[in-house]
Symmetry: C2
Subunit: 201 residues, 2 copies
Amino acid sequence: MIRLYDYLPSGNGYKVRLLLTQLRIPFERIELDITEGRTRTPEFLRKFPNGRIPAIELDDGRTLFESDAIMTYLAEGTRFLPADRFERAQVLQWMFFEQYSHEPYIAVARFFAMHPDFPDERRAGLPRIMKLGYDALGVMESHLASREWFVGNNYSIADIALYAYTHVADEGGFDLANYPAIRGWLDRVRAQPLHIPITQA
Amino acid sequence: MIRLYDYLPSGNGYKVRLLLTQLRIPFERIELDITEGRTRTPEFLRKFPNGRIPAIELDDGRTLFESDAIMTYLAEGTRFLPADRFERAQVLQWMFFEQYSHEPYIAVARFFAMHPDFPDERRAGLPRIMKLGYDALGVMESHLASREWFVGNNYSIADIALYAYTHVADEGGFDLANYPAIRGWLDRVRAQPLHIPITQA
């Protein structure tokens, strides 16, 4: 059975949890509290040198890290990843956008709000973080204004990648009132078969 | 002919330039100075809503952004992207690592050094940026200690992605003296057929 190294509040972990559930793939979840350094132990680093969750371990011992790489691996050949070459590239485009221009702001603002006493010198830059988070939401809003899903006409791992932290952006202080296209898309993602909330282990 | 929207000093742009050259795919390069806001014009944003280079435009008008998504698209079916499903996921794993844990530190430190007068409030966090840049180099060094290439036994777009800013890390103040495995790998990348330097348009 696939082992998923995870941390329940993590949107990155949630992406993999949600996809595994929607693919009906059984998995064993190993909870590691990142705020207590559980992903920086010598034992974890031997398997996963970048010291981050989510990470998976297959039955034969092979390992993989980076949420979006794991999702691409799991989704291969399923309805969650298009077969068309250009659409596959568009899925990756939005997943790289998420990791570079969205997560570092929207997820980080949420982390600060959830852990007000956790020392992190980036906290001084919160106004810039909020501004860039809203910039990312603006890119999403304009893209979704004329589309149901991020790529093509179907729900894909690009939607899961962007849903993970967008649907809890309010926990980081982001107000989605002026983002109606995003709110409609969040509802469509939530209505997909076998959807689970981020709080479900 | 493929149009590449680019900025010569950009390592992200260089990835695509280098791969197109090594694939012998002709392209037209359009230089846009990011320090003068050339990627934030209404015309550019209409095509590329995230306002960043590199970005490509195909003959039929289809567009794609995010350097690593563009590389995956171009490399499909070539020796630069493995056919094996797990190895493909490993290529993506290292490309996501590069964009999340490497580029925001190693590329940003170089940008600050190249543009000492460019206003950027992240500059106050330079010690943290350098520390996290060295952390990324440490992950690379341990991975390369027993391997010639990042994935499998061949040069791939994972190597191009990580080469782009690592080979100019010294321009951001990083010292690779204690990273012999990285230095050997940089030499192997440079020795690949049809290699071009980052300064070549």
